[in-house]
């Protein structure tokens, strides 16, 4: 542990991800369709990383794609799916139903308590809920603790310390200061609780620019910074771009069918491109720049979601 000293932390994506060992516990920043660390996810798949233990709150294509690529051993999220719009997460669902991944489904509040335990240097924290839920059946590691004052029995949850947190931010400087827009989701908690933070950013800017925008996650918590434009695509990274609903629909369709269709998606967008520049070229500049037009008018914004 200990803070990261102030130094230049800019590295390439491949180098940043190469440090992640098979079997690592990976915290995924962002949530649902926002600020998912997709550039890092794609690079993990390209590098053939295996047996990952994923933790996060509510997630979608980041988890599903890693599961589809066979990179995952254990999923510990509060939700994996595409909401009412695109429905269940196809690869995650299939892997859960065939028991090829361990489903350690959790709750946002429980995860928060477990991360906070690490942040506070404590071996456990108590939570009040959970007792009425079968979620406890998925977590034999939970315990109980009795309040010494009230006698109330509470669920005790152990500290959770991810090996690596993968975060994506619109702005960062070379020292690792990051500016995020709301929702921050668990990114701040992951940054403090994880042994190592790898951040991808839309744009590297000066420290002055980032201080003016507001530092959400400070440099001393960040180990590596990678400039990765459209690094959250097909999730959103406001203020730069909205999520790419068409692309997500394309992915979920391929993942539902599975087999060659899913392989085709992976080949086109992950294995078949050398890097993120290749990914952007494959998605196409026209599509990518359209996602940035949300800010022009309400009609443009709405138009992205029809």
């Amino acid at each position: 542990m200990g803070f990261q000293p102030q130094r230049d932390k800019v590295v390439g994506l491949a180098a940043a991800i190469a440090d992640i060992a098979d079997g690592a516990m990976i915290a995924l920043g962002g949530g649902l369709s926002a600020r998912l660390p997709m550039a890092s996810v794609r690079e993990l798949i390209r590098q053939g990383t295996r047996d990952l233990h994923l933790v996060g709150s509510a997630h979608s294509i980041d988890v599903d794609l890693l599961v589809a690529a066979g990179a995952v051993r254990r999923c510990e999220e509060s939700y994996v799916g595409f909401e009412q719009d695109l429905g269940l997460a196809p690869a995650y669902r299939r892997a859960a139903e065939t028991a090829t991944i361990e489903v350690a489904e959790s709750c946002c509040v429980t995860m928060l308590a477990q991360l906070r335990a690490t942040e506070m240097g404590l071996p456990f924290l108590p939570v009040r809920g959970v007792r009425g839920s079968d979620i406890v059946r998925l977590h034999p590691e939970y315990g109980e603790v009795t309040c010494p004052f009230t006698g109330e029995v509470l669920v005790a949850v152990p500290a959770l310390k991810p090996d690596v947190a993968l975060l994506h931010a619109p702005l960062g400087d070379r020292y690792g200061n990051l500016h995020l827009e709301q929702p921050y989701v668990l990114d701040e908690r992951f940054a403090s609780a994880s042994a190592r933070v790898v951040a991808t950013v839309e744009r590297l800017v000066t420290t002055e620019e980032i201080a003016a925008a507001g530092v959400t996650i400070p440099a001393h918590l960040v180990a590596a910074v990678v400039e990765a434009p459209f690094g959250a695509h097909p999730a959103s990274c406001y203020p730069d771009y909205a999520y790419d609903r068409q692309h997500l629909a394309q992915y979920t369709r391929a993942a539902q069918v599975g087999g060659d269709e899913l392989d085709g998606y992976l080949k086109t967008y992950v294995y078949g491109v050398a890097d993120e520049r290749g990914y952007q070229d494959t998605v196409g500049d026209e599509r990518l720049s359209a996602l940035g037009r949300w800010s022009q008018s309400t009609a443009d914004w709405k138009g992205l979601f029809r």
Binding site: E97, A99, V185, S236
Partner: protein, 277 residues
């Protein structure tokens, strides 16, 4: 004479479970609840504190409701967005008055399953998305408004949930008092067939839609159907409610929750109808 559709009526009924001055939250992937909250805030509960799903934005005025719960459009007009931890802390200490919850399965005690169908070992028969923060929040939020848009399927309201993600009034393991839960549990449940309350912690049909009979409802309900002595038909939406709803949900994201046949249920609207809530 103008008309309105079932999905609109459904959302209006959900919105009426909100009382003035309440602090109300919906989870992600819940367009009906999401739209309902905005309808309430524009009609009978203008002083409510509306906390927007996955954005945790406080009292936003979104230009439209997008099909995902953490799009930036959903914090437009909000002076403040809570941090993740700030919201969940507030909810677990009892500062949130109402939360909307749904589930692939719901039983008579208001237990909900959003985790999976069938046994969990070795793998679920059908793996659902998961519960977000529900398994803790259901313990401490003051009141829960449940909903199901798939009641008629016969698979949504069940005798026993295969897996209890979020606890209602009681489970085989105990009740809320035994667990020290500080929230009151499910208060209302709205389905596309009718409305339920929970006297003594058991669902009871209090209202039905005018185009649905009690027998149809009984046939679709997997648990023993209790019916209120003064069963009524649901009160129609007011013009104010309909126009608020149509303004808020111009993309019609609420419709994604319903089977196609339900969306064809259309009703005549009496424009003289004030707010009946």
């Amino acid at each position: 004479m103008s008309t309105f559709s079932l999905d609109e009526w459904f959302v209006v009924l959900l919105s009426r479970t909100i009382r003035p001055a309440e602090t109300v939250f919906h989870g992600f992937g819940s367009p009906c609840a999401q739209v309902a909250m905005h309808v309430a805030r524009r009609t009978h509960a203008r002083d409510m504190t509306l906390i927007e799903g996955a954005m945790y934005a406080v009292n936003p005025d979104p230009p439209f409701i997008p099909p995902t719960s953490n799009d930036a459009s959903l914090k437009r007009g909000a002076a403040y967005s809570m941090r993740f931890d700030e919201f969940f802390d507030a909810a677990i200490r009892g500062d949130v008055d109402r939360m909307f919850l749904s589930g692939g399965q719901i039983d008579a005690h208001g237990n909900t399953n959003v985790t999976g169908m069938g046994p969990s070992q070795p793998g679920f028969k059908v793996k659902l998305g998961g519960g977000g923060g529900g398994c803790n929040l259901a313990a401490t939020v003051r009141h829960l408004s449940l909903w199901s848009s798939r009641h008629r399927s016969g698979r949504a309201l069940v005798e026993n949930c295969d897996f209890i993600t979020d606890m209602g009034h009681r489970t085989p393991a105990g009740d809320r008092t035994e667990f020290g839960f500080t929230g009151g549990g499910p208060q209302w449940m709205v389905t596309e067939l009718g409305v339920f309350d929970f006297p003594e912690g058991h669902a009871r049909l209090t209202h039905r839609f005018p185009d649905v009979s009690v027998e149809e409802i009984r046939a679709a309900t997997g648990f023993e159907l209790r019916v209120a002595g003064d069963l009524r038909t649901v009160a129609p939406p007011s013009s104010a409610e309909l126009s608020a709803l149509r303004a808020v949900d111009s993309l019609g994201v609420r419709r994604s929750e319903f089977a196609p046949a339900e969306l064809e249920r259309v009703f005549d609207h009496d424009p003289a109808m004030g707010c009946a809530c």
